[in-house]
Amino acid sequence: MKALRKILDKQKPKFQKGGKLHNLESTFEAFETFLFVPNTVAKTGAHIRDAVDMKRFMFTVIIALVPAFIFGTWNVGYEHYLSYGQHPDFLTNFLYGLGKVLPLVVVSYAVGLGIEFIFAQIRHEEVNEGFLVSGLLIPLIVPPDLPLWQLAIGVAFAVIFGKEVFGGTGMNVFNPALTARAFIFFAYPGNMSGDKVWIADKLDTFSGATPLSKALVNNFSNFPSFHDMFWGYIPGSVGETSTFWILVGAVILLLTGVASWRVMLSMFAGGLFMGLIFNLVGPASNQYMHIAPWDHLIMGGFAFGAVFMATDPVTSAQTTKGKYYYGFLIGLIAVLIRVVNPGYPEGVMLSILLMNAFAPLIDHFVVKSNIKKRLKRAAIAVNK
C-alpha cells in the first residue's frame, strides 16, 4: 500500500497545473481516489461525513452483483451444453460462459469509461463514479451472443445521451444501463428478442424460448418448473435468470443500506397484485393470465430489475412515500406489459424506464400532499 502511495505522490506534480500532463488531471484524480479514499476535509459549514464515499458506495453494488454474475456465467455454459444434450462439470460450463461474458464486460467498461474520461477531461471535472456499476449491469442484461460492436454502440448511446447530456452521474433522468438495453433492443431487435438469442451458440433444433416468450403464446407444455425458474436453470439474459442469487445480492444491498427496501418490496407487491388481478378477471381461455402471481416474480428480469435497476438512487423517487408508489407501479406495469402486450414478452425494462420519467412527478405530489397535511394540522391548532 505504501509503495503505491509513493508512486502516486511522485507522479502527482506532473498532472497538476503547470505540469506536463495537466490535461489528464481528471484521469489521474480518478485513479487516485479509486485506490485511496481522499483525505480532503470540509472547510466551511457543518457536514456529516462518512468514510464511505461514492466510489465505495458503488463498489458495494458490484459486490452484490457478483453472485448473479458468477451464476449467470455458469448458466451461459450450462444452457449451451444442454442444447447439445451434454452435461459437463462446473468448470467447463463456467469457462465457456466466461468466454462469452468477459468480452461483453470488457467492451462495456472500455467504451463507457472511455467516454466518461473524455467528457471529464473536456469539462475539467472529476470523473463520475456512476459507470462503475452501469458497466457491469449492462453485460448482465443482454443476451450472451450479442455482437460486441452493437453492445459498444448501445453503451456509447446510453452514456452520451442518457447521462452526459444531462450533466453526468446524478443528473440523469433514466437509468443508464436500461437506456443502453432499450437502445440495443429497438435498434437491433434481431439480436435482442425472439427464441434464438438467449442460448449461446445453441443447436438449431433445440428450442431456446424463454419462459416469458413461451407464456406469451400460451405454450405451457414443457414449461420450466418453479424450482428451475427460481434457481435460474433457464435461458435468458446473462445475469437475470437466477432469482435466488439475485436475492443474495439484495441481502447484501439491504444490509449495507445501499439500496432501498421500500422500492424492492413494493415492486414485488405490484407484480403480485397485477398477477392476482389477472387471476381474478382473466378469461379462462388465456392461460397466461391464470399462472400463479409469484411466477411473474421469478420469470425474466423481474427480480433483477427490482433489486438492481429500480433501486438506482438517482432515477428512483426520492421521497419515502414516493418510493412505495414508484416501486408498486413498476411491478404493476411490468406484468401488465408482459401479459397484455403481444409485441414485448418482457415488460420490466420498459416499465422501469417509464417510471423513471414519472419519479419526479411522484415526488412532487408527495411533497405537495405533505405540505397540505401540515398546513391543515397547523390550521386546526390555530383554531383551537
Partner: protein, 218 residues
C-alpha cells in the same frame, strides 16, 4: 424604414440577402426558433420524402408570405388569422395536387404531412411576424429563407437516419455488401421517430458549439 429608401434598394441588397441566409443558420426555424418540429420528426426517415417536403414547405412559405404581404394593408386585423389560413390552405392544396400528379409514391409516403403543412408553425409564425409588416419582396425572401433553413435541417437529419437506418441515400445502397456479411446490421432505432428528435438535438448541440451567441445566459 422609409419607403423611398426601400424603392432604391437593389433586389439583392445586403439586407435582403440576410433575410435569405439568416434562417439557414443563426435564426433557423427548427434549431433556434424550435418551430415545425413535428413534421421534421415524421418525414425524415428517408432522404426522398424529406427533400420533397423541403420543396413543398419552401414553396408554401415563400408564396404565402408574398400573398399575405401584398394583402397586408387590406386585411382587417381581427380576422387576419382566418385570411392567412385561407391563403396557406389554398397553396397547400395546390402543392398536394402537384405532388399527387407527378410524384405519387412520395406523396403516399408523406401522406397526411403535406396537408399538415397548413398547421406548420413556421408558416404561421413567418406570416404573423414578418409578412404582415413588410413589403412583398423581402417577405418572399424571408419565406424562402425559412423554407431553406427548415429544409437544411430536414436533409441533414434524413441523411443520418437513412444512412444508418436503411444503409441507403436517396434509395441508393451506400453501405457495401461486404460490410453486411461481416456482421453489420442496420440500426432499427434510426427509423423510429425518437432518433429524429435526438439527431435534431445533436444538430442544435453542434450549432451552439460553433455559434456561442446562441447559448442563453444562465
Amino acid at each position: 424604414m422609409s419607403t423611398e429608401k426601400m424603392e432604391k434598394e437593389p433586389l439583392f441588397s445586403a439586407k435582403n440577402i440576410k433575410l435569405l441566409t439568416g434562417p439557414v443558420n443563426l435564426n433557423n426555424p427548427i434549431t433556434v426558433q424550435v418551430l415545425g418540429i413535428c413534421s421534421a420528426l415524421a418525414v425524415t426517415a428517408k432522404m426522398k420524402p424529406a427533400f420533397v417536403m423541403f420543396l413543398a414547405v419552401t414553396v408554401v412559405t415563400g408564396f404565402s408570405n408574398l400573398v399575405i404581404s401584398l394583402l397586408r394593408n387590406g386585411i382587417p386585423p381581427r380576422i387576419r388569422i382566418i385570411v392567412q389560413l385561407v391563403v396557406v390552405a389554398t397553396l397547400v392544396i395546390l402543392v398536394d395536387q402537384i405532388l399527387k400528379a407527378f410524384v405519387y409514391d412520395v406523396s403516399k409516403q408523406l401522406s397526411v404531412f403535406v396537408g399538415l403543412i397548413i398547421t406548420n408553425c413556421i408558416i404561421m409564425g413567418r406570416l404573423e411576424a414578418f409578412a404582415m409588416g413588410n413589403k412583398p419582396w423581402p417577405a418572399f425572401l424571408d419565406g424562402v429563407g425559412n423554407g431553406l433553413g427548415y429544409g437544411l435541417i430536414l436533409l441533414v437529419v434524413a441523411f443520418f437516419r437513412e444512412l444508418f437506418g436503411s444503409g441507403t441515400i436517396f434509395g441508393f445502397e451506400i453501405i457495401p455488401h461486404s460490410l453486411y456479411q461481416a456482421g453489420y446490421e442496420n440500426n432499427g432505432m434510426m427509423i423510429l421517430p425518437p432518433m429524429a428528435l435526438i439527431t435534431v438535438g445533436v444538430i442544435i448541440w453542434v450549432q451552439r458549439y460553433y455559434n456561442r451567441s446562441l447559448i442563453e445566459e444562465k
